[in-house]
Symmetry: C2
């Protein structure tokens, strides 16, 4: 990225003004051929492929609610703003296509930090081939807010929703769980836990919190290959995801605690506290893995998808049941599913 | 609208929690047949008509920047959040289709006010046949923010941009100008001006500020009938709109001050100050009229559109010129176009 003289540390957004800010962002946005009108006009115009559906999602990151600028660098804020939206598209089986970026910036927000925020966002956009086709920029008299809307496309019969789980289906999750929650505890240094990485290095858990990797390819394949009967992304924790699939599908779900794929840093952090490890993993948000259900008849197709995904583990963690109960089975006990993270109250 | 017991005055969003808030909003959103997956899943899925383009826009309203809750009621905030986005679509010639609503709410924001905000937004959505197909809700540690993304559709050869103006085209504007700026002055009571309406009644100018009417039908017709060579909506004032069309089209524009369609309240407010009237009308934002250029060959088609629009006046206010100068001609003088409203600095 080329730095212009105005991006020197200390320059605020108020110093350079709105038009310069918009130009600064706009000129960094590559526009593929299916973008008919890109940034700079009243709205963006895209032409999706024929026969496919447009999928739309929006998610806001608010300073003091979703991130703490004391330990979350601007690149991570930008990465995360796009990642959480791509994760929503992945949970629908949609291939991401375009994004709109809406920024509310405190007047004292530094231009250098804006550049770094864009670095993080655009690196992920490039690697997932998402075009930022427009957006909006305004002043915030309070916190920094980054609101991103993403669109994607999916064939009509390949859409994944939360509503298709049936009794007898198995429950699976991609990747590992609990890493982001432990990463946040470690970054916030409260309570002080064990060292997860050598001094000055970033632990795997911290990296997971700062740069969640949306499971775009997994979501697309789970839909394309008709593997998943229901799917959700774990933005608000496993307990929340389990409850929501159960509610939307009108089923119960039992999760087996011993089968959960805890991340390695999670086991280190909670070495002497298995109960807290389970609770944090169930309730902690920000994992951005996919939780999905799969009928026993689709197991062969699931093996095919697992092979295509290579390094990403997919773990069977439970069963869809009749009734409406969501439960966690441990070797000692059979517990009701805890509540997930609440944004209010 | 049915009020539930929890909407009693004094209940805050923190009191009822996120899930109840989402349900409260979601159950009020009608979903037309082309919505494949509506609110409540990870993302919305819509199926646009074949052969048409999807147009996307997003715009945020921030308390303390775009509105003052002391004199802007919640209904007006909701109306405006959608109106400003529909105005952007209109400026592209696009018919609005779907919207995503992203809310950042202070914990003490009252649920009754949230209901009223939705009243204003959904009344406009119903009258313009826009479906709210999804969104996001989060807590704000600072001001209320309402970020809305709207999508619309337009045929490929009917898209209006800012870039098509040619020397010799005429410049037109819909409706009247300056009303919203005077309405804001009157509502904010600074400086104290003349009474525009009987005590206790709302003046036309105040109504224009609080409930701008997006020129959706005009925009669609100007594109469909191939009338406008360039088009923009006047969100940031006439001077800003003129400059942006000139820049994007690589032309100059001269506006004739005597031909501007000042609103009646504007003439009353500035009765003894014609210079301030002109300056406020050029620089004042929030009119949300359409500014467009039209080649002399398209004048017949413009008359047809004017007839179809019935009561909405369309006024010729200037000319597109060679060079890059933007100017205002008064009987006494020929002035450079002033700067528009700046969001930063």
């Amino acid at each position: 990225m080329t730095m212009t003289p105005t991006s020197a540390t200390g320059t605020t957004v108020a110093d350079i003004g709105e038009r310069a800010l918009v130009d600064r962002i706009t000129r960094r946005l590559p526009q593929p051929a299916w973008v008919v009108v890109g940034p700079g006009d009243d709205a963006a115009v895209i032409e999706p492929e024929r026969g496919t559906l447009d999928v739309l999602t929006t998610d806001a990151l608010v300073e003091g609610v979703h991130f703490d600028r004391r330990f979350v660098p601007p690149e991570a804020i930008g990465h995360r703003a796009l990642a959480v939206n791509l994760s929503d598209l992945a949970a629908m089986g949609a291939r991401p296509r375009a994004a709109l970026l809406s920024l509310a910036l405190p007047a004292a927000f530094e231009v250098a930090d804006l550049d770094r925020l864009l670095d993080g966002l655009l690196a992920l956009a490039a690697s997932e081939r998402v075009a930022v086709v427009g957006g909006n920029i305004t002043r915030s008299p309070g916190p920094l807010m980054v609101d991103l809307t993403a669109t994607g496309s999916v064939k009509r019969r390949r859409v994944l929703t939360r509503a298709g789980a049936r009794a007898g289906d198995d429950v699976y999750v991609t990747g590992t769980l609990g890493d982001a929650a432990v990463g946040l505890l470690s970054l916030a240094r409260e309570p002080s836990g064990p060292a997860l990485a050598p001094r000055g290095a970033m632990s795997a858990a911290e990296a997971r919190y700062l740069r969640p990797e949306p499971r775009v390819r997994a979501g697309v394949l789970l839909g394309q290959q008709k593997v998943a009967s229901a799917c959700i992304d774990l933005s608000d924790g496993l307990a929340d995801g389990v409850r929501r699939i159960a509610e939307a599908s009108g089923v119960g779900i039992t999760i087996r605690a011993d089968d959960l794929p805890f991340g390695p840093d999670v086991r280190t952090w909670f070495a002497s506290e298995p109960a807290r490890m389970l609770d944090t993993t169930l309730r902690g948000g920000d994992d951005y893995e996919l939780l999905f259900t799969c009928s026993p008849r689709a197991r062969g197709r699931l093996r095919g998808v697992t092979a295509l995904l290579g390094g990403l583990p997919i773990t069977r963690i439970g069963t869809v049941t009749k009734g409406r109960d969501t439960r966690v089975r441990t070797p000692a006990d059979d517990l009701p599913m805890p509540e997930g993270f609440a944004h209010f109250g």
